[in-house]
């Protein structure tokens, strides 16, 4: 669909005109360009990262010393709820989608994703879902039932009083909204990856990152429905007395936990697999060696994706499931450590014997291996079920999943931004500042979260707005708080680096790192149509093999006739690329921008407010009108302008 040429100047049938501007402020609202949408996802995720970070700093300040008084109990409960919810749904997932959006088409040799308007719609829904969620702070109380929102705490009717205020309503509806966004991007990624690969790009020639995003997209597609069902039930229990989760009335609070964790555990892999993909791209480039055991890394990722569905009850070892169930889930949890371990060893195999350029992206990738390993190992100790009944709901768990998700995902994401920034903007990020960023983050991160292992084992539970004096928890909490502020400082460095490098960074060539994958064959920043000519792929790491070959001993040899780096046209289907971003010479037709993804998405939070405030007279009809208008206009607008 991306290469359909419009014959002549015949206007296609349609009621409405489509916008044409691809530059300027307003173009951001109508764009369907996967790269622009990716940047919007990324900026949104970074903004929410800062907000969630500020919430975390307040949490750490409160716990700086015993009997903290910075926050009230009510505010503390809101902050830890929103910190978790934000990091999972508004930082981790959108950030992965940002990378996927930017890179999947570039890596598989496509000009856009399969459904460009749906792509834009997904972004706007996630953004509006996030704004909706945060509007609760001024509209009747922020969510305060935890990111996991266990029933009956969250599902008891407002008048019944366990959690007064609208917090849990905003939480349930907001998550449903964001789930709609995640589902659309999952469908989009799956169809894009399966259908829009360049000629010759067989599945087993795909970059690992694309593979991991494919697994993630399938996980998202199947994980969102159970949690959506659970959230709708929570909302109905709370507002319409349905008793799905009311223990005393024949419902069952534990039903909610099963539904939530059937989503929640695959969700963990939804968050970490993109990070694994990013690292699997960075390590070979900066080691000048191919990924060690490509197919094993891929199959491990798929195995994690499958096993991820069979471990949910390890979040429920203390709920009294009985010895048969907890034995089964304990064993399946142990089993999932195997493919995870295989990946770590393969990454080590990749760097082993290489020629390591310790640039900032590489430092973050190596940091990822180290930190993720610690998180993985503490994860194995949770599978020892009786021990988990001591660990669960303590700071030991907080330490564990921050090593996996911060030491894992966030390190990979930051490394990935350093790595692909030159492609996005044609400029390097500052490497010196980047290294400083890395070391401060590594130190701050470990100072914050390593002591939490001890706190947990020494009996400090999670989600407590204070702790009394005299429990011996003071020192470790003090260290954690100091570490938290070092993380904040390091994050500031990172943001400064992005902002200054964006406009004043050192200019980068199209292939700044001697890359291996297709995105490095095109200009930086990439033209709207990505590839002037769709490349033909002959090998895994195709671009690398155009530049290098191996001698008898397997050593790397640059292809002498090469010089191919800056002339991508030589290996495409023919013809030359115009560097000015003007596509006329190629007859490339790109999808036109559209107003309606934005409009359609705008209808959803209106309906959300209508649901929360039970307003059938103004907000609900308004939402329906906007929604219907958006749908019809979307369907009826011309195919292009």
């Amino acid at each position: 669909m991306t290469t359909v040429a419009v014959p002549g100047k015949v206007r296609p049938a349609g009621l409405l005109r489509r916008p044409t501007a691809t530059r300027g402020f307003w173009s951001w609202f109508t764009t369907v360009d996967h790269k622009k949408i990716a940047i919007m996802y990324g900026v949104t995720a970074l903004l929410f990262f800062v907000i969630a970070g500020i919430e975390a700093l307040f949490i750490r300040l409160q716990l700086l010393s015993p009997n903290g008084t910075i926050l009230t109990a009510a505010r503390y409960n809101e902050f830890f709820t929103m910190h978790g919810t934000t990091m999972v749904f508004l930082v981790g997932m959108p950030m992965a989608v940002a990378f996927g959006n930017y890179l999947i088409p570039l890596m598989i040799g496509a000009r856009d994703v399969a459904f460009p308007r749906l792509n834009a719609f997904g972004y706007w829904v996630v953004l509006f879902g996030g704004l909706f969620l945060y509007s609760s702070f001024v509209l009747g109380g922020a969510p305060n039932g935890g990111w996991f929102g266990y029933t009956p705490l969250t599902s008891t009717p407002m008048s019944g009083g366990f959690l007064p205020g609208h917090g849990p309503d905003f939480w349930a509806v907001g998550l449903i909204l964001m789930g709609i966004g995640s589902t659309t991007s999952a469908i989009n990624f799956i169809v894009t990856i399966l259908n829009l690969r360049a000629p010759g790009m067989s599945l087993m020639r795909m970059p690992v990152f694309v593979w991991m995003m494919l697994v993630v997209a399938f996980l998202t597609l199947f994980a969102i429905p159970p949690v959506t069902a659970a959230l709708i039930m929570v909302f109905f229990d709370r507002n319409y007395l349905t008793n799905f989760f009311v223990g005393g009335k024949g419902g069952d609070p534990l039903l909610y936990q099963h539904l939530f964790w059937i989503f929640g555990h695959p969700e963990v892999y939804i968050l970490i697999l993109p990070g694994m993909g990013i690292v699997s791209e960075i390590l070979p480039v900066f080691s000048r060696k191919p990924l060690f055991g490509y197919s094993v890394v891929i199959f491990s990722g798929i195995a994690i994706g499958f096993l991820g569905w069979g471990v949910w009850a390890h979040h429920m070892f203390a709920t009294g499931l009985g010895p048969v169930a907890i034995t089964a889930f304990g064993l399946s949890t142990m089993l999932i450590a195997v493919p995870t371990g295989v990946k770590i060893f393969n990454w080590l195999g990749t760097v082993w014997g290489g020629s390591l350029r310790l640039k900032t992206p590489m430092l973050f990738a190596l940091g990822f291996i180290a930190m993720f390993t610690i998180g993985g190992l503490s994860g194995v100790t949770h599978s020892i079920v009786p021990a988990d009944t001591q660990q669960t709901d303590t700071y030991y768990i907080v330490a564990h999943f921050h090593y996996v998700l911060f030491g894992g995902l966030i390190f990979a994401v930051i490394g990935g931004i350093y790595y692909w920034f030159p492609k996005m903007y044609g400029r390097y990020m500052n490497d010196k500042l980047g290294k400083f960023n890395f070391w401060t983050l590594l130190i701050g991160f470990n100072l914050t979260f390593f002591p939490m292992h001890f706190l947990g084992l020494w009996g400090m539970p999670r989600r407590t707005y204070y702790y009394p004096k005299g429990y011996g928890w003071e020192t470790m909490n003090l260290l954690a708080t100091i570490g938290g502020f070092i993380i904040a400082f390091s994050t500031l460095l990172f943001i400064v680096n992005i902002l200054t490098s964006r406009y004043r960074g050192e200019l980068a060539p199209d292939d700044p790192w001697d890359g291996r994958t297709l995105e490095w064959t095109i200009p930086s920043p990439p033209p709207e149509y990505n590839f002037a000519e769709i490349p033909i792929v002959h090998e895994r790491d195709d671009f690398w093999h155009r530049k290098y070959t191996e001698d008898d001993q397997g050593r790397l040899v640059r292809i002498p006739s090469g010089g191919a780096i800056d002339t991508p046209a030589a290996t495409t289907t023919g013809g030359g690329g115009h560097e000015d971003g003007n596509d006329e010479g190629h007859g490339i037709h790109m999808p036109s921008p559209s107003y309606f993804p934005f409009v359609l998405a705008l209808g959803l939070p209106l309906l959300g407010y209508a649901a929360v405030f039970k307003d059938p007279w103004i907000l609900a009809p308004l939402g329906v009108i906007v929604l219907l208008f958006g749908m019809y206009a979307w369907a009826l607008e011309p195919g292009s302008e």
Partner: protein, 378 residues
């Protein structure tokens, strides 16, 4: 200083810091009576024994992997001459190896894990003491059905004897209906046993047993499942008694204090008058140690070390403050609900702030009178 000396000194320093780290790791941490690494009960001990070896295996693997990462980063750094490394695409033998070896390690961990799961699930012996634990917002009630006593925040168990805990978050004995069900809590006394969630609509079971040599000791615990506003305050205390001391404690708890009101409903003392005036008895059982109530049973309050979910030492000053304005000491959801319970109210109301229209604030003198009365309830 020669190079060698420098190296030796550096070596010693490295050794010292590694040693320090090991000490830190092996240290069991503070003696805070709530430390999973200092078990004093059979379950907690079994769990720690189970956890110990995998913990060290994990440390070993972690050190190896992290060491390999750092080693690789230094050893294989880009240097003149290594720009074109050998292109290794994989090694089937190695990859099968590092699939199988972790699998074997996990089998070694799995066998005792499964054995312990089933061991801990065993039914208690017939002579076990029965205690019914009710999780409420935000305190624990302990009912001894065979001894017919009820207490809160603090309870006693005999050393060396199994205790069969039946845990629930609903309290049907107060009446019927879902309104008397609470939210999910998690019962946890780290030095005695792992956690057991308390789920409305279910009766959960947990067997605990304090070691024989712990008579006279106190262990602490707290709710581990987030249960709303004052989750952090939902603490508890268990006192382990020698068997004869435990029987004495039971006997003392079974004694009924003088009734607050005579058969005609007249207050029997000044304090009783005030208790009637402020409606304390609508939430608390005050003169009957065998009854459970919305708030903790206060019949033998003075026999406890702390009060307010084990948050404050039981002194007259603290108790007076508490009676006047409990929400200033433990956050409560009681704005606008000073007397009795209505939907939306959770916890103890203030008697000086956020009063219902028409109510006048309680005087400090009244509060002191009530406090003195309660402190005589040994």
């Amino acid at each position: 200083m020669t190079d060698r000396e420098v190296r030796q000194r550096r070596g010693r320093r490295v050794l010292a810091s590694v040693g320090g780290a090991v000490v830190l790791l092996t240290a069991c941490g503070p003696e805070n009576r709530q430390n999973t690494l200092r078990p004093h009960g059979s379950s907690a001990q079994k769990i720690l024994d189970l956890f110990r070896w995998p913990f060290w295996i994990a440390i070993l693997i972690g050190v190896l992997v992290l060491g390999a990462t750092v080693f690789a980063a230094i050893r294989f750094r880009e240097r003149p001459g290594n720009e074109n490394p050998k292109q290794v695409h994989g090694n089937t033998a190695l990859e099968i190896g590092w699939t199988i070896v972790p699998l074997l390690i996990l089998v070694v961990i799995a066998v005792p894990t499964v054995a312990t799961i089933w061991d801990l699930a065993k039914a208690p012996r017939a002579n076990a003491l029965n205690i019914r634990v009710v999780g409420k917002q935000w305190w624990w009630e302990f009912q001894y059905p065979d001894q017919k006593i009820v207490t809160g925040d603090e309870f006693h168990i005999p050393a060396g004897r199994q205790v069969r805990l039946q845990l629930t978050a609903c309290d049907p004995s107060l009446g019927s209906g879902a309104a008397l069900c609470n939210v999910i809590h998690s019962f946890w006394i780290p030095e005695l046993a792992g956690k057991q969630d308390v789920v409305p609509g279910r009766t959960q079971r947990l067997v605990i047993q304090a070691d024989r040599n712990t008579a006279g000791r106190t262990f602490l615990g707290q709710c581990a499942e987030y249960c709303g506003l004052s989750h952090a305050r939902m603490r508890l205390r268990v006192k382990v008694d020698a068997p004869d001391k435990f029987d004495e404690w039971i006997a003392s708890q079974q004694q009924r204090p003088d009734p607050l009101f005579d058969k005609r409903g007249n207050a029997t003392s000044d304090a009783a008058k005030l208790i009637g005036k402020y409606g304390c008895a609508s939430c608390h059982s005050i003169d009957d140690p065998s009854k459970n109530s919305y708030g903790p049973n206060l019949a033998h309050l003075a026999s406890r070390e702390n009060f307010a979910s084990d948050s404050y030492p039981l002194t007259k000053e603290n108790l007076t403050r508490w009676i006047l304005d409990a929400p200033s000491m433990v956050p409560m959801q009681t704005k606008g609900c000073p007397r009795g319970q209505k939907p939306g109210c959770v916890g103890m109301p203030s008697f000086t702030k956020n009063l219902a229209p028409g109510d006048s604030p309680m005087s400090t003198r009244d509060a002191e009178t009530i406090a003195s009365y309660l402190l005589n309830q040994k």
